[in-house]
Symmetry: D2
Subunit: 383 residues, 4 copies
Amino acid sequence: MNKKLKLGMIGGGNGAFIGAVHRLCARMDNKYEFVAGCLSSTPEKAAKSAEEIGLDPSRSYPDFKTMAEKESLREDGIDVVSIVTPNHMHAEPAIEFLKKNIHVICDKPMTSTMEDAHKLFETVSQSKAHFFLTHNYSGYPVVREMRSLIKIGELGKIRTVKGSYLQGWLGSKEEETGENKQAEWRTDPKRSGVAGAVGDIGSHTMHLIEFITGEKLISVAADLTTFVDGRKLEDDASIMIRMSNKVKGNLSISQVATGEENNFRLSIYGDKGALHWSQENPNYATFSKLEKPNQIITRGGSIKQDGSFSHERVPAGHPEGYLEAFAQIYSDAADVIQNKENKTDLIKILPNVNDGLHIMKFIKATVDSNNNNSAWTDLSTIK
Amino acid sequence: MNKKLKLGMIGGGNGAFIGAVHRLCARMDNKYEFVAGCLSSTPEKAAKSAEEIGLDPSRSYPDFKTMAEKESLREDGIDVVSIVTPNHMHAEPAIEFLKKNIHVICDKPMTSTMEDAHKLFETVSQSKAHFFLTHNYSGYPVVREMRSLIKIGELGKIRTVKGSYLQGWLGSKEEETGENKQAEWRTDPKRSGVAGAVGDIGSHTMHLIEFITGEKLISVAADLTTFVDGRKLEDDASIMIRMSNKVKGNLSISQVATGEENNFRLSIYGDKGALHWSQENPNYATFSKLEKPNQIITRGGSIKQDGSFSHERVPAGHPEGYLEAFAQIYSDAADVIQNKENKTDLIKILPNVNDGLHIMKFIKATVDSNNNNSAWTDLSTIK
Amino acid sequence: MNKKLKLGMIGGGNGAFIGAVHRLCARMDNKYEFVAGCLSSTPEKAAKSAEEIGLDPSRSYPDFKTMAEKESLREDGIDVVSIVTPNHMHAEPAIEFLKKNIHVICDKPMTSTMEDAHKLFETVSQSKAHFFLTHNYSGYPVVREMRSLIKIGELGKIRTVKGSYLQGWLGSKEEETGENKQAEWRTDPKRSGVAGAVGDIGSHTMHLIEFITGEKLISVAADLTTFVDGRKLEDDASIMIRMSNKVKGNLSISQVATGEENNFRLSIYGDKGALHWSQENPNYATFSKLEKPNQIITRGGSIKQDGSFSHERVPAGHPEGYLEAFAQIYSDAADVIQNKENKTDLIKILPNVNDGLHIMKFIKATVDSNNNNSAWTDLSTIK
Amino acid sequence: MNKKLKLGMIGGGNGAFIGAVHRLCARMDNKYEFVAGCLSSTPEKAAKSAEEIGLDPSRSYPDFKTMAEKESLREDGIDVVSIVTPNHMHAEPAIEFLKKNIHVICDKPMTSTMEDAHKLFETVSQSKAHFFLTHNYSGYPVVREMRSLIKIGELGKIRTVKGSYLQGWLGSKEEETGENKQAEWRTDPKRSGVAGAVGDIGSHTMHLIEFITGEKLISVAADLTTFVDGRKLEDDASIMIRMSNKVKGNLSISQVATGEENNFRLSIYGDKGALHWSQENPNYATFSKLEKPNQIITRGGSIKQDGSFSHERVPAGHPEGYLEAFAQIYSDAADVIQNKENKTDLIKILPNVNDGLHIMKFIKATVDSNNNNSAWTDLSTIK
């Protein structure tokens, strides 16, 4: 029997969708106990949110500095803090807690600016605490299975990757309705960063491609478009990519794709095989082997690899979803923090500060390419 | 902020798949706290299981009678008990806790014998406590949405229902491998009851048809088969059904359907429309309206009805699954127990002792029909 | 280079959907030349239809007897006649042409009465000419591939078959609109026979199950329903079946399934594997092998068996459909008639008079069972 | 009753897949009679092929010039010639027949060089004969339906298009096996032109996008790759596009996509709706309307528009495929040639010499962009 980790949260107050998701996911596998928070941007709102979700008032803090200070002094202080604020409010609290050697689980993308990204990177390298990013799609069992199949060579040499992440929720000017906080900050360069759709969902797409293939992005050529008049950041992108080992790829990213909910798909083609996955029906993947009929892989099905970390909570045929995949990141982070047996391997697949900095460079390079008439832009040029 | 309900459990110890599912689902929406249990059939195993899952040893009980006795005397005693044992061990503990006015959440089918079913039915009718059955598929948001669409007349008069629940896990003699406890008790008439596949998954199929359509089963004609040599209960069934309001139906139930994982599908045809749902991709349904193109309904999508109790935790496009649907039963039960605002409506859709007794009659009538050369057998003849 | 067979047609005149289909399919593989016909029920209509489709007026006949007589006397007379009239008008012309040793390709079901079926059977057995039935779904390449896979043992011992054939076009009283000739005769016992939906599409379902599995139907228990008020024949059926070698099955047949177009699906489960096929996307099948991921078979794909007669006209990925499958029956019939090399094998898979009589017994047994309160009814009892 | 058009063919001899497809498709709707040909590249092969497919030896010609000469002098000479040779052999014969005022149906892309394209364009503009290109995917009923829906404004303003055409048949060096003539000429710049995959299937993709949306391509930025060592033309391409009315798009084209057969998909997003189509299941499209559930359009289903020229030969639910769509081009071309009533409208949707020249520019611009480090390249710069 494990002792549960004590968890705090920055952001995620009253009405914040993603805060509730984090708390549910932390709770799912019974490895965390939520005990402290600075849930909103003002002390009043923070206190109100704390009350609503039943947080002990003495551990509801008016600001993250006070929280880091006080919690680090308590004997029963938090082990881990989740940062679920808009992008521009990731770096400062993360740095504060890392300095107190409190582990951090942070939403993606890592920061809103390259400057913050580098600062945070430095801090992590000097802290004893762990830093994890919630690139939650890497928690899907079938996704991890795909990574494992590629690692053992089932696809041969990877040639090309086709990725698309298509949503329709920003098809009109949601940020001006006054009813959509998500839309407001995500389309605001001050809070979101230099990119809109690319920062929000392009970042997931690029991370997952690297996660599954094991190849790293080298260069991008991008065409970004803002289809909704007056919007400040792009809401649609075509991105051609070049990766290590001569892997090529093509990405379609959109938040104005009418009728799409969360249509995130990847196809990965190697010279001996291919894999296809779609987030909206995530318990299955299609696995092609040269000269063989396509096979349907299922979560926990007969093809499951040892060491894939493709964890399933219920047997194949009983669908798991987004929350389970998200919870997997929390579960694995807990195992690493508590020095479980599989720690060494888990730490390699959990999204970390290197991924965070790298994906920040991807976002910046994409914007730079677009500003340079879609010229190929190497990530190595991004500072 | 709610106070959490205190939860106990009968069964669900060491290695029991369904016990862990119940605990995870109880935890998901933060409405229960698991505090007591009699987790296994012997005091030693029970204690060991309690230790493994971190239960306070003073609230790990050697038998359910002691547990009911002791917990009912504590000021902080359990509010609710989950019964997750094999079928033959449902009635006795349920009755014991109900007599102490402790609420019961019980696995399906309700009991292993009609006699037990009647006894339990009597007890419930005399207890102040609630009794709920985990016909968990009725917790899927899209399933509840379908029920709601039918209720408001979108399908017109229901004509015919085609249901199939196909699994392959009992395709060979799993009950003799010594490694499959599920297979052992589910194929054992003493623990399972008069039916195998029909009791296990036919019961879900029939419940869900009634749940969605609002019509009640009247009569069955069945052909049961035991395909695996030496097995004691049927592993495959064809069942023709007749329901209230002249609704007809046809069910295919199998646990020897090679290659199937948990393929549970329903199609419901009315004179103005139809609905189709498949459990393995449960966030979608197909909705046909006369002379219109088929529509794809999504969980939480644009067609969502008020009062459908089709609760979603994450937006459409972010798939939810089996665990979330199962958790919904727990969540709704908590709301009823705690007299939440929507209690009156929720109590109508939660599977209860009437459903339990009715489904027991369905199982018995199916077996009787088969024993009588597939003759039509009315549920009214089942005692 | 082949000489083309000379083809005549009975029925299929002005506005008759299926006549045009037959002619297109006969033309597709360039093995027939359409030269003579008695296209409608009256001499005037027949002449008008002939003119419209460009038939030589001297070979447009007022009645089938004259046609059989005259064509059999011409040196360049027809080799083959297609009979595409309503069911009650199959036997007489077929018998007439068979007596002249002209080959017959006849629509299904074979006749409208058992009496006619026996008469036709006798005639075929005494004629030198071939008699083929257009159970056209057996012409699909993937269907033939499935048959071949089962024949070589890939499914092991067949256990159970789940079939459904669901249409919605008779959901209201189409036969009284005055605009739907198909609906008129298919719901008229005098022209259609003792059954409606079962005769029309149940017959296809049962034939295809036997074609693919190689097992023969022994007994049925059926529940037939007429959902549309005042209709004279059933429009919906549930049918439980027992076949040779202890194979069981369950069929759902409906022509009032709102929203369904031509949803014909089969799942065949053996102890070592399973196969699934759906007519509306007919270029694919799912092939399950025990303990292996499901595979997707494609028309002409890598799994193709020698001797499956699974003919494809364009490579996999270029979909073929209903017309190609239908044309395959014509193409194979031509090869048999012209004594091509593969004649001996083809003759075994083409639907013939034995199938015709057998399926007539299936239809009658289904109706008898329904009239006898769904009692199991052996085909051996049907005279 | 129509008189049939007399059809000749250049290429398509012994073993040529596409020649047989053309002849079958010309035959399907009974509007052509195949009477003359120059079927192979040498007189001997041509004669042999003619014999095999039963062509009158007196109308089997040793070269296309003789054929054009002789046929134009016959009273019963051909009305139309189909040109089904490799790309480099399109222009010369086409020009020869057009000069004799014989109509031409030509395979795509129109030529192998821009020079030939311009010559042919000139010739067509001076000929009384029609010139059609077999961009056969525009013959699919559902594709035409999509075009029609967009034309009447159902999608609002088109924003972005995502297209992919993925095949795997050139995944290894097929052109050196000695057994794949298709692979040989398609990877040979002398016969194919400046591009490989882009010329072969990228051309279809780009044509269909313009056909459906009504927007014209303006500029491309492309990254072409030759994954198979030693191959002379690209076998994979990512192409970003900009079209009229600020429509953007992204294309993924590959012939080394392991496991893909003929996976051609389009998604078209407007500000009021979206449409999705996949060639491998071509009888369906998904139609999204803002704030409404997605709808499934079927061939010939309830949404069918007047004037869509979405012709179906069999009712919805009876799948049609590649051959029927291809035949539609032949059928419509015949109607235009024979001055049928709908000629004026049909001529607008049939792929013609303008499309041919435009698509040639697309191919060239794509190659130019790639050679210029993926710089945006306007079609207006292509000469």
